[in-house]
Symmetry: none
Subunit: 138 residues, 2 copies
């Protein structure tokens, strides 16, 4: 059922490490922390689950989590980018393989290991382009 947990446990196994209750707490806290993760945020979230958990444990476990899946868990939702109309706010979600590929090349070029990305294109949608043109035509 809990795929995240299984993945983590499998990873720990390969390192002769144990899946423990505090580690599970950190994992849950980590997954529950949407958006940008500071270790502090995860620590706070973990304390809400288990007030007795130690800060060092959170650091240690976060480090372990980098192993199988890295810090971000954006992978949980299917990845897509955004195309936003700045006039009416229309939002289009899209996925473009060519862009993904080009991004991979950038990661490689600079010696980075890819974790994820965020892209937002801003423009005027067709309707708004028309509307603007009309209003300019007076």
């Amino acid at each position: 059922m809990n795929e995240e947990r299984d993945l983590f446990e499998r990873y720990l196994r390969t390192k002769d490490l144990k899946m423990t209750s505090p580690r599970e707490t950190v994992l849950q806290a980590f997954l529950a922390t949407e958006g940008h993760l500071s270790a502090e945020d995860v620590f706070d979230a973990a304390r809400r689950i288990d007030p007795g958990i130690g800060q060092a444990t959170v650091f240690r476990t976060l480090k372990l989590l980098e192993g199988p899946r890295r810090y971000e868990h954006a992978y949980r939702h299917r990845h897509h980018d955004h195309l936003l109309c700045i006039r009416c706010g229309k939002l289009v979600e899209f996925f473009d393989p060519a862009i993904e590929k080009a991004q991979d090349r950038v990661f490689e070029k600079y010696g980075f290991k890819a974790i994820g990305h965020m892209m937002e294109l801003k423009g005027l949608c067709a309707e708004c382009t028309e509307a603007v043109r009309d209003s300019l035509a007076k």
Copy 2:
């Protein structure tokens, strides 16, 4: 002759700051440090030029050096995207024509008129990849 220096001094002027000998030392050290520079590296290089220079001065000046780089980009309106290391915070600015082209196709496909975009790639830089691997090695 030294364009970097001039650019830096011009930037300092706009902030009512002074071009001093220690600051020039740090600038030289900064420019001389090939590749991946930690503040520590720059400090070492600066000390080779002026053994009496203080560590705090290096940190302060490095912070100032961020200014003109940003300023230059903003002034020239040169577009770039960001590649960020989520572990150490290293930020690489890059421009990739293939990505720009692919984005244009997306705009067109959805009938949008392009205005701009924001893209941030997240990953682990080479040093951090290594560091993480070491820390996981048992």
